[in-house]
Amino acid sequence: MPMLDIKNLTLEMHSSEGTIKALDKVNLTVSTGEIRALVGESGSGKSLIVSAICGALPSEWSVTADRMSWNGENLLGMSSQQRREVMRREIAVVFQNPQTSLDPSATLGEQLEESIPSEFIQGRWFWQRAQQRRKIAISTVHKVGIKHHKHYLSAYPHQIPSDIGQKFMIAMALVSQPKLLIADDPTRGMEPTTKTQILKLFTRLNQTRSLSILFVSHDLLAIASMSHTMTVLYAGQTVESGKMKHIKKRPLHPYTKALLDSAPSFRKDLPPKSHLPTIAGSIPTLQHLPIGCRLGPRCPRAQRACVQTPAVRRIHDHSYSCHYPLHMEKL
């Protein structure tokens, strides 16, 4: 049974210019112990999905979904107290920019210790409890690979380098022992060495603790190396979703194929000095979303039927939504 189950999530905003449907019938599932990658360009709505799961959407967005459940309980129907409880213990989020996610007026140690759930602390006297908090903080920080804990735990956010910052954010997420870790583009703008460290950390956590990870990114290399399953998002619609090996071997949606083609390391048979294949055009703005399949105007295989949103079809675990997928010949 999947832990996080989202079906037909739609996010609408009513503005003065009309209704904007930023997310249109998005499907996403994360099972226990799996690393799912959520891939899409900037502007495809990945961060909106993360905010919708957390419940941190601004009030002007209206959320509708056929099913949005965590471990069987409906997230949309919960009270805010219960939702907060779920967020506190079972789901953890690592945001993009570690510098802005930390309170600049408190030391790192204070912020880490306040995130430790009080269920883990036993002790009658407050100094016992403070000691235990400190111990848990130090051990968590060691687990993510920060060696000089004394220096960093007493530092302020503007004094630490950004890779330590991101590792610290992961430590803060882990301290409550969640079952699902949502990483919203954590390795953006990092040097490759730091990126590999963080990705290795994720893989290790997934293997040792069977922590499920929802890894939101557009870095295909990182995703290909570590994720088990992948969901591809384009302009607020899920276009393809399935196991990583299957998608790599045989992408069914033209967008997925273009995405995989654009990363040179995926293709072994690329002759030198050849053009990198791309799809012409750019992602549509929110005010001018195409009707039906949103890739329509750019897709080389588009026909008249594409003005209707394609239904989701499945081949074993591999689901796609396209009227003319790649395993069908163009009519």
């Binding site: 967020m87 989020v93 802005t100 996610s101 309170d103 600049p104 007026s105 408190a106 995130s115 409550s176």
Partner: protein
Amino acid sequence: MIRILARYSILFVLTLLVLAVMSFSLAYLFPGDVLENLTGIVPANDAQRLALERQFRLDQSYFIQFFYYLSNLFAGDWGYSFTSGIALRDEIGIAMPATIELATYSIMIALFVGIPLGYYAGMRCYSTSDYIINTSSITTYSFPVFWLALLLILVFSLQLDKAPLSGRISLLFDVEPVSGFILLDILLSDMQNKSLAFKDALSHLTLPTVAIGAVSTASMVRITRRSVIDARHQPYIAAAVSRGLSGWQIFFRHILRNALLPILPLMAIQITTLITNTMIVETLFSWPGIGNWLIQAIYQRDYPALRVGMLSVSTLVITLTITVDMFNRLIDPSREKYEHAAI
């Protein structure tokens, strides 16, 4: 830390030096003869003039005169006022604590009423209570302070006859000026009817404090509310929400400190405005403070009084602003990242 203290002390000393130079040169800038301005005596003939000049060192170079002026200031000889003939030091010694007392009570009201109200309005921003607080604060802030004081006098003193009109305490009570702060003096002295005197002094204090405090409070409410709203929209508050911290935890640990820190640099300007408003309101209530004294001095063109009065008030203001700046610098951790040249 020692470096910060040293830097600010040097700044303080330099500023005071510049102020002393300015106040010294005022003697030469005032219209009229320098000798008359300084002493008030019109020399009868040349011999007297020469003698007076030698006595007040007016025949020597500017540096020596300045040095003489400074040494007099430190020795305590601040000259004599034209109008009353009393030593200026005594006059300022009575007037300054009165102003400081009034300003202190007003600023207490501004801090302890204004900041909590600002927090309340900021946390419930765009709701009805926030709307009411915002509207009333912008209305109160737009009142000219002297008109507000005048209205208070009209309504409370003249119509309703609830509060007294002028002075610090009714003439029936005779309080020994030990510290200059009248409430403190009443408690320290050994009179028979202390509580009556205390209540009387309080009633004299009420109207001026309300007038000054209202405008300052409105200003603090606006500043605090804006700072709280800005702090609430920061990304780390959203990150804290996603970690599941409760509303109270977020407020006490994060919003409280981060909303307060940007306000502190603005406190210096608030203090300056407060002292200006205090000085204006003192004239309306005949409160024997330094504002009233200075304004009387300027009406009567009492030049020695003006010189030393200006020096003393600006010293007070500079001391307060530099202290607030230094305090700022010490407790705000994120200011360390600004580069400074070594002192």
